[in-house]
């Protein structure tokens, strides 16, 4: 399909906006963590530390410098890939984060691969046969899943599949992952839980977006040309609902990187969300900031991607 220069300009503009947002967000993240109560030096040295020792450590860690200059050096570090060192473990934050991030991403990718096709199929099918038994069933199920908090789903899953039936291991990480079957087993429960939570929203939003386009005159026109229900929805409604659907998918998926703390905790899965909570407990500022930035980047890139898809699918921008 041909796209005009104007379209690409719009896309470039959108990417620029994302970049600016990122800088603003980094500013907010840095100063928000500055506001956290407590002092790293005090926590590191323990209660028995002398004021002189605390002051010495603060000096050594550069905590006495003005916040703005620490922000700038942190930002320039980030830009060059240097996330600083963890205060607590004295390990490169990048190393700490890298391992956890790959864990989180692995989980996210598996969930995405299962959940997006599933949710889109359900949402579109429900819209196509609106008011049918299938539609009602999907609506009831999605509303129930949205209403039940995820720790409940997770705990119930452990209770049923691990404790009563003993089909699946209760802990995913460190479980036997020697062959494909075992790997499948190890991931099954977190994936099931997350799929439930993420796809419910996606199904509802997809259904709503498709139904909205079904009610347009051009879809009625397709009906009056003798098109089948399938053709009306897939050929005429769906292409015009892509923008809102992409946004719904992006919003739901962004949850997979940052919002999965409860699932990670219940299944003892060492992902980024759990790392961040641990970092907050120990006032490990560089780690907290880096984790927060990872969440923001993933969120922003998903939303930006959705907007770019929406821009590219807008027929008015085609030549």
């Amino acid at each position: 399909m041909h796209r005009s220069l104007q379209t690409w300009l719009l896309v470039a503009q959108r990417l620029g906006v994302a970049l600016i947002t990122l800088v603003i967000v980094s500013f907010a993240v840095f100063f928000a963590t500055e506001l956290l109560p407590g002092d790293v030096a005090e926590i590191l040295l323990g209660q028995a530390a002398t004021p002189e020792a605390v002051a010495g450590l603060r000096e050594a860690m550069g905590l006495n410098e003005p916040a703005i200059s620490r922000f700038l050096s942190w930002l320039s570090g980030l830009a060059t890939g240097d996330m600083g060192r963890s205060y607590v473990n004295d390990i490169e934050v990048a190393d700490l984060l890298g391992r956890r991030l790959s864990n989180s991403l692995r989980l996210a990718v598996v969930v995405t691969v299962i959940c997006v096709p599933f949710a889109l199929t359900c949402g579109i099918a429900a819209a196509m046969w609106k008011g049918s038994i299938l539609d009602r069933l999907v609506s009831i199920l999605t509303i129930s899943v949205i209403s039940i908090p995820e720790f409940m789903v997770a705990t119930l899953a452990v209770l049923v599949f691990a404790v009563w039936l003993s089909w699946l291991p209760a802990l995913s990480y460190g479980a036997d992952a020697s062959n494909f079957g075992a790997l499948l087993k190890a991931y099954a429960m977190p994936v099931i839980t997350l799929t439930c939570v993420v796809s419910a929203q996606m199904i509802r939003m997809t259904r709503a977006a498709v139904i909205e386009t079904i009610n347009t005159p051009y879809v009625e026109m397709a009906l009056l040309k003798g098109a089948s229900r399938r053709r009306m929805v897939l050929r005429h409604a769906l292409p015009n609902a892509l923008g809102p659907i992409a946004n719904a998918v992006a919003l739901s998926l962004s949850y997979l990187v940052g919002g999965v703390i409860i699932v990670e905790t219940v299944f003892n899965y060492p992902g980024v969300a759990k790392l961040m909570v641990d970092a907050v407990a120990t006032r490990d500022l560089p780690l907290i900031q880096s984790c927060a930035m990872v969440f923001c980047v993933s969120y922003l890139s998903l939303i930006t991607l959705a907007d770019v898809v929406a821009t590219l699918s807008n027929p008015r921008l085609r030549k």
């Binding site: 051009y218 040309k225 098109a227 005429h236 292409p239 027929p315």
Partner: protein, 553 residues
């Protein structure tokens, strides 16, 4: 006599209202259509004309259902078919041309794909053959660049072209019956002529039968062989076009026809009016949208408009969509600040932005918008809608204010009890009266009426105009009357401004518009208004080249 192509017997269509009540919107309708005959369904909004037309395709809008009677189309009993069978009829036996082609084309597909979709759905012919046939149809419908227009997207062609393209979309499957659902209502008059001509010649050449749904008798007179007059879901009168136009039997048909009679407008202008400064004087007004750079708006709409209105006279502003007539009202009212020129009200200069005008200046000029539905707050009862200007301009409260609200309702001929209702509980005509009463509440000298009768049915609109005239006599008002409809303007205005693409073409006396028009565009516009005479379109000497040049199409 041959067997009719379509036979409708005892048709009953039911609908479920928002409140869940079941009502029959079509009650016991019988009619036939002969092969090759074009039958018009005429009626006001809500008379069920579109519902009947769609039922011929076996389709009902959501909430409606065919509850009785039979519809036979050729050898098919549409009412007894299932949805899949009905789908196989659509596009091949019976085809549909929508009211708004702009909305009926899928924005994300190329025009050609949509035009030949019928042949694909019903496996009528290979794609290449279908495209050749489509191009032939484009040519027959007098579309520009017939070879390549199909490669464009719907947003890349004009409204009139889209309407003709939708006819090509309907005709590609060689249906026996074509349904035209108000296909020219959304078009400008000069465009309407081209589209009507194209429809007429194609229908004549193909010998297809047609159902033409419209509220406009003059348009129908040009294309239909027979007219069915509908009201409230029932047939009032049926007859050949000429007979209905010349010897109407039913009182409703007579009402419809009399709305076309020229109503001589007796001006209330008095000699002493000349002595006072003009109620509105506009000199060199330019206005537009977007940021103003070096004294000019980025998107200029109005360019150097000057005119003068004497007290007690009415000024009409006519022009096609996009000519800037509504923008002129908004610039005079100060809703859209002008970037150049002056506006004087009774000799007093008005600042461009309404924020800088005094309360008294605001009071003197009021504006009434086209759509009462969107102008009236749906969650406020009529009383609070009318009370607001009373409090704002006149500081009225309590019993005095209530008394005045009742008076205002009485002025627009609505019962006092109506003040407790919400706008949603009123009919379209009643809402527009309330909308007008809201402007009257300020006790203005000048009322800017922006297409206030355009959304109303013919008979209701005529009553509204009568009301405006009565109020003018009683209150000494002046109206600036914006409309795309020449006959409306003729009925109420002393002078008329003709606008074209943001420029003032010429000013004409309303009583002798067609005689005194000098500018070719004014003549084109005036000659394009359909007349009740069925031979009007055939005899019209209309230069399409001139129309093209004028409108930049």
């Amino acid at each position: 006599m041959t067997q009719p192509l379509v036979s409708v017997r005892d048709l009953v269509i039911g609908a479920v209202t928002d409140s869940g009540r079941k009502v029959d919107i079509i009650r016991k309708v019988d009619f036939d259509i002969q092969p090759g005959e074009i039958v018009a369904l005429i009626g006001e909004s809500g008379s069920g004309k579109t519902t009947i037309a769609l039922s011929l395709m076996g389709h009902c809008r959501p909430g409606c259902s065919i509850n009785g009677g039979s519809i036979r189309l050729a050898d098919h009993d549409v009412t007894k078919m299932n949805e899949a069978k009905r789908a196989s009829l659509r596009g091949t036996e019976v085809a549909y041309i929508p009211q708004s082609a702009a909305a009926a084309f899928n924005p994300s597909q190329r025009i050609m794909d949509q035009v030949i979709e019928v042949t694909h759905i019903h496996n009528l012919m290979p794609r290449a053959e279908a495209e050749v046939k489509a191009v032939e149809l484009f040519r027959a419908l007098a579309l520009p660049e017939p070879e390549t227009i199909g490669r464009r997207y719907p947003h890349q062609v004009s409204g009139g072209q889209l309407q003709r393209l939708s006819a090509a979309m309907a005709l590609i499957g060689d249906p026996q019956l074509v349904i035209f659902d108000e296909p020219t209502t959304a078009l400008d008059v000069t465009t309407q002529i081209e589209v009507l001509r194209a429809f007429r010649s194609v229908m004549k050449a193909s010998g297809m039968a047609g159902v033409y749904v419209s509220h406009d008798l003059a348009v129908v007179a040009q294309i239909a062989d027979r007219i069915i007059v509908l009201k409230a879901g029932q047939i009032q009168e049926v007859g050949p076009t000429r007979e209905i136009l010349e010897k109407p039997q039913h009182s409703y048909t007579k009402d419809l026809l009399s709305a076309f009679d020229p109503v001589p407008f007796a001006s209330v202008k008095t000699a002493e009016a000349k002595a006072v400064p003009p109620i509105l004087e506009v000199t060199g007004l330019s206005a537009g949208y977007g940021p103003v750079r070096s004294g000019e708006a980025e998107f200029k709409v109005l360019d150097n408009i000057s005119f003068k209105m004497e007290k007690g006279t009415n000024l009409g502003v006519i022009g096609e969509s996009g000519s800037g007539k509504s923008t002129l009202a908004r610039a005079v009212a100060g809703i859209l600040p002008r970037y150049r020129g002056d506006v004087f009200s009774q000799g007093e200069a008005l600042s461009p932005d309404l924020k800088d005008r005094s309360k008294d200046q605001l009071r003197r000029t009021q504006i009434v918008f086209q759509l009462a539905d969107t102008a009236l707050n749906p969650s406020q009862p009529i009383e609070s809608i009318l009370s607001r200007p009373l409090k704002f301009y006149h500081g009225m409260t309590g019993a005095a204010r209530e008394k005045r609200v009742i008076e205002l309702l009485d002025m627009v001929q609505l019962p006092a009890a109506m003040r407790h209702r919400l706008p949603g509980e009123l009919s379209g005509g009643q809402k527009q009266r309330v909308n007008f009463a809201r402007a009257l509440a300020a006790e203005p000298d000048l009322i800017l009426c922006d297409e206030i009768t355009s959304a109303l049915d013919t008979v209701v609109a005529a009553a509204m105009l009568d009301l405006l005239k009565d109020l003018q006599k009683d209150l000494g008002l002046s109206y600036m009357f914006i409309s795309h409809d020449l006959s409306t303007v003729e009925a109420i205005c002393d002078d008329v401004l003709v606008m074209l693409k943001g420029n003032l073409v010429e000013a004409l006396p309303a009583a002798h518009m067609s005689q005194s028009a000098q500018h070719p565009y004014s003549r084109l516009l005036i000659s394009s208004v359909p007349k009740l005479d069925p031979d009007w379109l055939a005899n019209l000497e209309h230069d399409p080249e001139l129309a093209k040049a004028m409108m930049g199409r």
